[in-house]
């Protein structure tokens, strides 16, 4: 079992937040979409349904807000943990397919973002093997990994099977 919202707030120093808005003002995603980092922290503290919000999934985890927070609130860490909680509770974003695509890729290849042909080329140029060594390079390992994911019911929660 993962953490509750309250535990996430405690561990992330969320109760120290003074709602100054430096996080939202710093957020490169927020300028393009409806993500308001400060508001997420506020909602979490007020006991609102923060894990059901779509905005939770708009963060690119660039950590600028966390770097700049004057009260040492671990904003990005908290967003990541809130996402974990959201998945555990069965809340997946409906507006974006990206998380589903990532999970599918993880299930099929063992990597959330498999190597693109471009990256493979660059690897060859700098003298690395074309394929990176991960679970996908060994069919048996990949099968074990998939069993693990099944056990965690991640694909089910993500609505893939």
């Amino acid at each position: 079992m993962g953490k509750s919202v309250k535990e996430i707030l405690i561990d992330g120093n969320g109760y120290a937040c003074i709602q100054c808005g430096r996080c939202t003002g710093s957020c490169p995603s927020g300028r393009e979409c409806s993500l308001r980092t400060r508001k997420l922290i506020h909602m979490a503290r007020m006991g609102m349904d923060v894990i059901k919000t779509e905005e939770l999934w708009d963060c690119t985890t660039c950590f600028t807000c966390q770097e700049r927070c004057p009260k040492e609130v671990k904003t990005t860490d908290m967003i990541i943990e809130l996402r974990n909680l959201a998945v555990e509770e069965g809340y997946f974003p409906t507006m974006s397919d990206v998380p589903k695509i990532i999970i599918k890729s993880l299930y099929d290849t063992g990597a959330g973002q498999p190597l693109s042909p471009e990256v493979s080329k660059i690897r060859a140029i700098i003298g690395l093997k074309k394929e990176a060594y991960d679970v996908s390079t060994n069919a048996e390992t990949l099968k074990k990994f998939q069993r693990l994911l099944d056990g965690l019911e991640i694909t089910k929660k993500g609505g893939l099977r």
């Binding site: 808005g21 003002g25 957020c27 308001r36 927070c69």
Partner: protein, 650 residues
């Protein structure tokens, strides 16, 4: 056997609600040495104290135990009570059955048992207490004030006006401190120079004040009533007696207008020979040895121009540091602050763009004597779009400053008002975290400034960035919940106040503690805000924590009254609860000397043993605990007394 009286207090119902007081009296009365035992609802009240006095006389008591609250609360009260009845105050012992018993336990039966044990252990200790006598030490009726800002100036004037001599030491060439840099003061908009310079002049001509500018405190020995101070007067390379302050040397200097002026926050220029500002006190010139061509290279053209033009022959290139030594009875530390270093917040690009400036820099831009003659111009142009950013370096754990600097909200309001007054069509936005207008007339001023058309947008600035020669500020309007950005011609950082790094040495010389914010720690945050834990050393102004001018002046006068209170005594009495060395057992290993936080131990070369300076020792006991030969005895806390007390509770 000693005759002991024990008095149990109910503290209203604070103790008696949990502890069965009658039962305690019953049990304690059984101890053979206890010849009188009683309880009362309020032992500290007049009837309660009379009860103790009467019992002392009627039963010829040797010692008294009061079981009540913490000794920090009422030990002084009851010591005075027994003293009144003719008993030595050190034959009094207090047992804490409130904070350490009734307040922390719910089970009345167990709490009663614990209270009995606690009182028994006090009785055991009381039977071994010995009378002690305080030693009187004469007081030197003079004071040292360190720091010549508004705090040091006010303290010095108050002490001097009470008839005591004051040595005022300032490290800069002039007194005046930060306040001399300000243009106007909030919320009354009094001109800072108009209210400060008369006080500076008063200091200079006061017969009781000896002003030591461009000087540093080198060492401080001794203790309350008798401090010995050594001050280093840095060479000014100008004869203070001969210089008339005419200024022709500064005009003639080959480097005139080529060196960044510290007083103008680097925005204005000065020469190698200079006064920090025109109203400097003393109005005497100083040569900067780091910059002067003649002092650095031994050569300045064919001959140094300053010396050529000086009609009084005041230039003294062979000037040397001078050392002054004197004794004082009390010390006031008024070492002020340093403005927060804005480059520690790289997202605000203070280092990168000249039109990002700090609050203190803007003060110099406003000042009629400042680098722009009081006209707010940035790159020769009047700024039209101005953004103020609050809490720069305050309430910010990232830079280690968790505290609020208390002045920025208001100086930003004042500066926004002054800018609007000088540039009526300016578009001014204040990005703030919370608005803190707590002082007298502050909220009214904030309202006035908002009515003048200054935009207050809640939400602090996230970053400043430049693009195509333009400057932008990004923030969230937290009332709307929307991020936005503004283009600005001028960005003013509301930089906070930080501890003065130069005061660190003074703190070490005086063994002062720091609070978690890095400012000097007062003896009690509410009831002793101007005292320190070191007797005879007091605090004034921002040295103790951020505060505005009214609070600084109030605290400075408070410190002065404590100094005068001390200096008005012929003698002061130190606590006799100190360490005593048994000269026969001491081997002179000096372990105690290394451990003592108050430097109270001295080595007697002749006898080869340690001795304790009674005025410096605070009775902390570190030395006695560490002494390998067990030759240090703590008065009032002897091994016998402590062991007897422990055995009763074990």
């Amino acid at each position: 056997m000693k005759r002991i009286g024990v008095f149990i207090c109910h503290c209203g119902v604070n103790i008696s609600n949990t502890v069965d007081v009658k039962k305690v009296v019953e049990e304690i009365s059984k101890i053979p040495s206890v010849v009188a035992c009683a309880d009362y609802q309020y032992m500290c009240s007049d009837p309660g104290q009379d009860m103790i006095k009467k019992a002392i006389k009627e039963n010829q008591l040797d010692s008294v135990v009061v079981a009540a609250c913490s000794p920090r609360m009422h030990e002084p009260t009851f010591r005075a009570t027994v003293s009144d009845a003719g008993m030595n105050p050190y034959c009094f012992e207090m047992s804490n059955i409130r904070e350490q018993c009734s307040w922390v336990h719910l089970d009345g039966e167990k709490a009663t048992k614990k209270a009995i044990d606690l009182v028994k252990s006090s009785v055991a200790r009381a039977s071994l207490l010995e009378p002690l006598v305080s030693q009187g030490v004469p007081v030197v009726p003079k004071a040292l004030v360190i720091g010549g800002g508004i705090a040091g100036i006010q303290t010095s004037l108050d002490i001097a006006n009470s008839g005591y001599k004051v040595y005022l030491v300032e490290k800069e060439p002039s007194i005046g401190g930060h306040m001399a840099r300000f243009d106007k003061t909030f919320p009354t908009l009094d001109c800072a120079a108009c209210i400060l310079t008369p006080k500076m002049v008063d200091v200079a001509r006061h017969p009781n004040i000896e002003l030591l500018t461009y000087s540093e405190v080198e060492s401080i020995d001794g203790s309350v009533g008798n401090f010995h101070v050594r001050v280093k007067k840095n060479p000014r390379y100008v004869d203070m007696e001969k210089c008339t302050g005419c200024g022709s040397c500064a005009e003639a200097c080959r480097l005139a207008g080529r060196i960044a002026s510290e007083f103008d926050m680097g925005l204005g220029k000065r020469g190698a020979i200079y006064v920090p500002f025109p109203q400097a006190v003393p109005l005497r010139y100083t040569i900067d040895p780091e910059k002067c061509l003649f002092l650095k290279h031994g050569k300045c053209g064919t001959s140094p121009k300053c010396a050529d033009v000086c009609t009084t022959d005041a230039i003294k290139f062979d000037d040397k540091p001078e050392f002054v030594e004197f004794d004082v009875g009390a010390i006031v530390v008024a070492t002020g602050f340093k403005e927060f270093s804005a480059e520690l917040k790289p997202e605000y690009c203070y280092d990168k763009y000249p039109n990002v400036m700090t609050g203190l820099e803007l003060e110099r831009i406003f000042a009629p004597s400042g680098p722009t003659g009081g006209k707010p111009k940035i790159n020769g142009k009047e700024p039209k779009r101005i953004v103020f950013i609050s809490c720069v370096g305050s309430r910010d754990k990232k830079v280690g400053n968790a505290y609020c600097s208390r002045v920025c909200c208001m100086y930003i309001a004042k500066q926004a008002h002054l800018l609007k007054e000088k540039i009526p069509d300016a578009d001014i936005t204040v990005m703030y975290t919370d608005m803190r207008a707590f002082g007298k007339g502050y909220e009214e001023f904030y309202e006035r400034v908002q009515k003048e058309g200054i935009k207050y947008r809640r939400g602090n600035a996230a970053e400043v960035y430049g693009q195509d020669g333009k400057l932008f500020v990004r923030a969230e309007d937290t009332l709307l919940g929307e991020p936005y950005e503004l283009e600005a011609d001028l960005v003013v950082l509301g930089t906070g106040l930080t501890p003065n790094p130069l005061a660190e040495g003074i703190g070490k010389l005086l063994h002062l503690s720091l609070s978690s914010d890095g400012f000097f720690l007062e003896a009690h945050p509410k009831l002793r805000p101007v005292d320190t834990v070191i007797d005879g050393v007091f605090l004034a102004g921002v040295a103790q924590g951020p505060k505005d001018i009214p609070d600084t002046v109030a605290q400075a006068s408070g410190a002065a009254s404590h100094v005068v209170n001390l200096l008005s005594k012929d003698e002061i009495f130190a606590e006799p609860t100190i360490a005593v060395v048994d000269e026969d057992a001491c081997v002179g290993c000096k372990t105690c000397m290394l451990l003592c936080p108050f430097e109270a131990h001295e080595f007697d070369e002749e006898k080869g043993v340690m001795k304790v300076n009674a005025a410096l020792c605070k009775g902390c006991g570190s030395c006695a605990a560490a002494c390998p030969s067990g030759s240090i005895r703590m008065n009032h806390f002897t091994n016998d007394q402590i062991i007897a007390q422990l055995l009763e509770v074990l």
